[in-house]
């Protein structure tokens, strides 16, 4: 018998994430779809915008977070559909690793996916709306990271539940979007204030909400995930 040392939680998490990223890197379908969606959304909002009626600084945060949420959903949708195609999920679940590691690996891959879309969309937004992001770039990037953690923690969990249904594409947004409301609210208000030149201390209450949301939902979804797999 070959020598074995089954991977621990962190190692298994990384193995699952790396596998998902390898699949995405090989196909690039979800990433390019999400990126295209984000850029098209920015373009449409830009041409629908009347600068004499609404200032860019008031409109842009809302546009940014609507686009982040919906482009993120495209990646989350794919997270478990790749497992479902040839029942690869069965091989994954039969492996001698904790099922929480499967969730964390999927969430990590989704986080990197959402972060990559954000990394391209944020400069594009600044360009379209001529926003003064340079002085608030780091705090906004921090908000984006916190919001992305919240979005993928909830979205990954609901993706695993929705994938077994016939209306998976419809069900995932319906399940996840209500949970995204506190994230979008906190992130959009924080971004708006930072773009208006207000200090970071001014948005701390909203950042605390984001951190609390992340902590609660990362822990809750990790613990609940194994039960979503029961038939």
């Amino acid at each position: 018998m070959p020598e074995r040392n089954p991977p621990g939680m962190l190692h298994a998490t990384w193995l699952v994430a790396r596998k998902d990223l390898a699949i995405e890197f090989r196909t690039r379908t979800a990433f390019f779809s999400a990126l295209l969606f984000a850029l098209l959304g920015l373009t449409i909002f830009y041409f629908a915008w009347d600068p004499t009626a609404v200032a860019a600084i008031d409109l842009a945060p809302g546009v940014l977070w609507v686009i982040f949420v919906f482009s993120g959903l495209l990646g989350l949708q794919r997270s478990f559909s790749v497992e479902q195609a040839d029942r690869a999920i069965d091989a994954l679940l039969a492996a001698p690793v904790d099922r929480e590691a499967i969730y964390l690996g999927k969430a990590l891959a989704n986080f990197l996916f959402v972060a990559a879309v954000q990394a391209i969309s944020l400069p594009a937004l600044a360009l379209f709306y001529n926003l003064p992001v340079s002085q608030a770039f780091l705090p906004i990037a921090g908000i984006a990271v916190l919001a992305a953690i919240g979005i993928v923690s909830v979205g990954t969990m609901f993706s695993s539940m929705a994938v077994n249904t016939r209306l998976a594409e419809l069900l995932l947004p319906m399940l996840a979007l209500p949970f995204f409301i506190p994230i979008v609210m906190a992130a959009a208000v924080s971004t708006s204030r930072l773009l208006a030149g207000r200090p970071v201390a001014d948005v701390m209450p909203w950042l605390r909400i984001l951190v609390a949301f992340d902590l609660v939902f990362v822990v809750a979804c990790t613990l609940a995930f194994p039960y979503t797999l029961e038939e």
């Binding site: 018998m1 070959p2 020598e3 991977p7 298994a12 193995l15 029942r87």
Partner: protein
């Protein structure tokens, strides 16, 4: 006469032991009070008409389903008590359980890493070699024919040298070379002390490797006997009658 084994000794010696295994879906029992055990080197050929509960039984033994009641242990460890027991099981199913965008080698190597093999790449290459598909190791699975995908799927199932190998119609889609490679791999696993559970509709194929044979119907084992007690022609007749009765 060999001395009687205590329950603990029997569990320890058995590679797999199922006791009163029941799995119900919406009140209907797909697996109904199944009890059996297999020791090292034994092979159970399991026959049964469609919907008899064979695949559900395999999914229970692989740890993919939890039993409604009863228990199952692999190498003395109860399957639901943790992930350790799952590491002793290999599963070949109807579906390939492969990632189509990844290559054959990447798929098998990923499994080898998930089972914590020391040299996952070498183990993956050895498994692909066993299934005579090493020359397509760097081909994405989506570009392989159904038969070659089945060979890669079997390589994925045997890469960690499981102590219990569960095969659901493993010969489906295989050509002569693939069938020969599979039979050799199953024989090699048996000789190495693994137990096999082979689900098939093809009696001659199943009985060729079996040390035990069973017929499942409506979730229950209606026959379970040693291969030596099985007369292929009468067994085939009985199996056909059972299948026809459920049609």
């Amino acid at each position: 006469m060999p001395p009687a084994l205590s329950a603990t000794e029997a569990v320890t010696r058995s590679v797999v032991m199922a006791e009163g295994l029941v799995r119900a879906f919406s009140g209907r029992r797909a697996v109904d009070n199944v009890t059996f055990s297999l020791d090292a080197g034994e092979c159970l050929a399991l026959f049964g008409p469609n919907g008899a509960g064979k695949t559900t039984l395999l999914r229970l033994l692989a740890g993919l389903l939890s039993p409604t009641s009863g228990s199952c242990s692999i190498g003395g460890t109860v399957l639901r008590s943790g992930s350790t027991a799952r590491g002793q099981v290999g599963l070949v199913s109807h579906a390939s359980m492969l990632y189509a965008p990844l290559t054959a080698l990447e798929n098998v190597e990923f499994t080898a890493r998930m089972y914590g093999l020391r040299d996952p790449r070498a183990a993956a290459r050895a498994a692909l070699h066993t299934m005579r598909v090493l020359d397509r190791a760097d081909t994405p699975v989506r570009s392989l024919s159904r038969g070659l995908q089945q060979r890669v799927s079997i390589a994925r199932a045997i890469v960690h040298a499981p102590q219990l190998l569960l095969c659901d119609e493993p010969y489906t889609g295989l050509d002569d070379v693939g069938s020969g490679a599979l039979t050799a791999a199953l024989t090699e696993r048996r000789e190495a002390g693994a137990a096999l559970l082979l689900v098939t509709h093809n009696l001659s194929e199943g009985l060729a490797l079996a040390t035990h044979a069973a017929i499942m119907r409506r979730g229950k084992f209606v026959r379970f006997e040693s291969r030596a007690d099985v007369h292929a022609s009468s067994y085939a007749l009985e199996y056909r009658e059972l299948a026809a009765a459920d049609a």
